[in-house]
Symmetry: C2
Subunit: 446 residues, 2 copies
């Protein structure tokens, strides 16, 4: 494959001949393949690759990268090449990049823009961080509600070269207030003299200050191609398109997945992240979890006398804590996903808790009965009873707590994934041990 | 909120007056709000709601549901109402639903279609399950490469009412082979007499038998609006649009997330799934994990003499296994995500293993040193040394194994998430305990 050949070539020394060969190989690849390659190379190699591309292509590839990755490349590219790319970017992509740069560098770049581009960029920069306004494009084709279909088509023709999209056309009244939306397809299918007011649909719109992730999920849920963005007075200020919505949800998903696994999300693709940064993304959570796990040492110390008396109880500790953790994770994963898809809302908390308690009890009953039989045969009926009863209780508690955590997080306006799976495991470990030894003491009369 | 009012109304008795009120309330809601409500209702209530909607709306809402959910509603709706919906659906949505129905019912429904619709449906039905051909729309507008821009626009106008999309136009030669693609925007921006051959771009296309998920991810990665689908001879057979690609990846993500949490994905929204089905989605994995966890009981039994001699060793079991599990999960989560995003490929396995071993050793060094100091002060330097060395080894092993698992799964052409986090925890539990007691025996000279 020529992607691999190019990767190998870029790994070696960059003689003029090698550069020329690299340029030829790159010319034979699609934009997507080049992007994939850039994401796997170190910053220095990635910049060499970008410089072998023609201007249009370098821009397309650069715009396809995450902003944090772009910022790293800007440092390596050198000022002139970086400024050329920056000036040519779309206003919304430009703002995402600016957010990642030092204030000095951001100001320097902004000063290079012509007044019109600077105005468009400032419009986007003016919206709060994390808001959809930061991700919208101000280059929107709006259609006055007094237009005919023919006049509207005329406006579209004038903006074919610079607008973000011409497939979703917001319709506005004389004061710029959004009153509807019209697809280009519908426009083409309608007689030219028809008033726009007769064919427009109610607009699914977003407010400029609204949370970017929530708006993007709504966008994708409704299967839109474009969503008009309005200010507090419902005046049209921009538009969001599918690629924006996808970029926003992909970032959010990466963060959720990372949290669930107990790490911080990486800001750059894995192979181009330094080992030190990988360690940093994990050490904090690992320490927090280890400190919480120290709680289990304390719990066991309280029951040390029981343990010394019946050492066989120690054999089941990992089995019991493991099963509790697994049950809790199952519940947490299911509910976190249901929240993300909108299948469950925080309003449903009592229904969810009731269901999870029942599911946990049923799972615990199955596992507990089996454990009672098996452990009973091997270690005697008393030990069998202790293990069986503990599994029943632990599964019920773990499923209920695991199901509740993501909803509680959402109620507290935190990310449902903040109570990550490792966190739930650690919590159920400590609780499960207390339950275990209390049951053991009662059954074994210790 | 009127959504909640409607939900409460549907929860009560359905008198004719209540039905009329429900219809009025529903008329004031957006399609998206109705879909959200249907996903939270039992099948019987959902059908009552669907029947209060006008025909166009009922279809739009029904088409927005997952196929498995549609199939449940078909059973409840009754034959006549279900047939009306089925006949009005798009061919690709129809096929997804057919896959969920009994063969008898599927045949009955197919017999209700007129010959043209039956032909289109069969075309989609003919592709293998899991392939992109099953999800494409055969209603595609193709442009002969010999057309001028004006002629192409004429073809678009003829298909404005039935085509799946008119924004991405595949260009074909005289034998129907795909030779390029043209956006409607580009078409409108070009002089009418220009030959299509001069303005078309190379097409990013998919092959009808290709895996649906892989194709959909490529689609979204390249930020396309439509992707032509071709047969083995590169003849155009259909088109995939953004909504198809999103539906495919959402299903796949739900499955991945569920697997990572050690459950089967739910086939219906959480609140409309019966408790028994929730138990079934979890019990298999939980049993498998519990049986694997029985391994830890065996391991501890081998070292029971050591445990009896130094009971204090038991206190650290949950801490050590927990930390190993967490470190393994961090690595597995990171690599699974990197694989999904294409940042890492199976070809990179040696680079990944080397990085994860280094990351794990660094994490283990930090945690181990802390544990050595703290446990050393409380339980004496020898115990401190045992705990510290164990953490160092366990973290290194867990990170390496956790990073390797998803790649190995992918190499075996299995889902990277099949080695779920609970699986990795269970594996590292057993390994960690062996390491722990071996180190303890060596340090404590037992």
């Amino acid at each position: 494959m020529s992607v691999d050949t190019l990767a190998d070539l870029l790994g070696g020394e960059m003689t003029p001949a090698a550069l020329q060969e690299a340029a030829q190989l790159a010319a034979g690849l699609s934009d997507g393949e080049i992007v994939g390659l850039v994401e796997r190379l170190s910053a220095a190699r990635a910049c060499v690759l970008l410089q072998t591309l023609d201007e249009r292509r370098a821009l397309a590839v650069f715009e396809a990268l995450d902003a944090a990755h772009q910022a790293v490349l800007v440092d390596t590219l050198g000022e002139d090449a970086a400024t050329d790319l920056f000036v040519a970017m779309d206003p919304d992509d430009r703002v995402s990049l600016l957010d990642e740069l030092s204030p000095d560098l951001a100001e320097h770049f902004l000063a290079q823009l012509d007044p019109r581009e600077r105005g468009l960029t400032s419009l986007v920069l003016g919206s709060p961080r994390q808001s959809i306004g930061r991700r919208m494009s101000p280059e929107v084709v709006s259609v006055p509600v007094t237009d005919t279909v023919d006049q509207a088509l005329g406006r579209v023709r004038l903006r074919l070269h610079d607008a973000e999209t011409v497939y979703t056309l917001p319709v506005v009244d004389e004061s710029g207030v959004l009153v509807g939306v019209l697809g280009l397809r519908r426009l083409l299918a309608t007689a030219p003299e028809t008033p726009v007011a007769d064919v427009m649909r109610p607009a699914e719109s977003g407010v400029v200050t609204e949370d970017a992730e929530r708006t993007a999920r709504r966008f994708l849920d409704r299967k839109l191609l474009g969503m008009p963005i309005v200010d507090a007075d419902r005046r049209l200020v921009g538009i969001v398109t599918v690629d924006d919505a996808l970029a926003i949800t992909e970032e959010a998903d990466s963060q959720d997945v990372a949290r669930q696994g107990g790490t911080e999300a990486l800001r750059r693709p894995y192979l181009s992240t330094a080992v030190g940064d990988l360690v940093r993304s994990r050490i904090v959570w690992l320490l927090v979890l280890a400190v919480s796990a120290a709680l289990t040492v304390q719990v066991l110390e309280i029951f040390e006398a029981t343990l010394t008396e019946v050492v066989v109880l120690a054999l089941f500790i990992p089995l019991l804590t493991g099963t509790g953790g697994n049950t809790g994770n199952q519940a947490a994963t299911t509910i976190t996903r249901a929240l993300a898809l909108g299948d469950v809302t925080p309003r449903d908390i009592s229904r969810v808790l009731l269901r999870e308690a029942r599911v946990g009890a049923l799972l615990g009953a199955v596992l507990g009965s089996l454990a009672f039989l098996i452990a009973g045969v091997i270690y005697g009926p008393q030990i069998g009873l202790v293990i069986g009863l503990t599994l029943l209780s632990v599964c019920t508690i773990a499923a209920t707590v695991g199901g509740a955590m993501p909803i509680i997080a959402q109620k507290l306006r935190a990310d449902p994934a903040v109570f990550s799976n490792p966190f739930i495991s650690t919590f159920t470990d400590a609780t499960g041990l207390v339950v275990y030894f209390l049951i053991a003491r009662a059954v074994l009369h210790l």
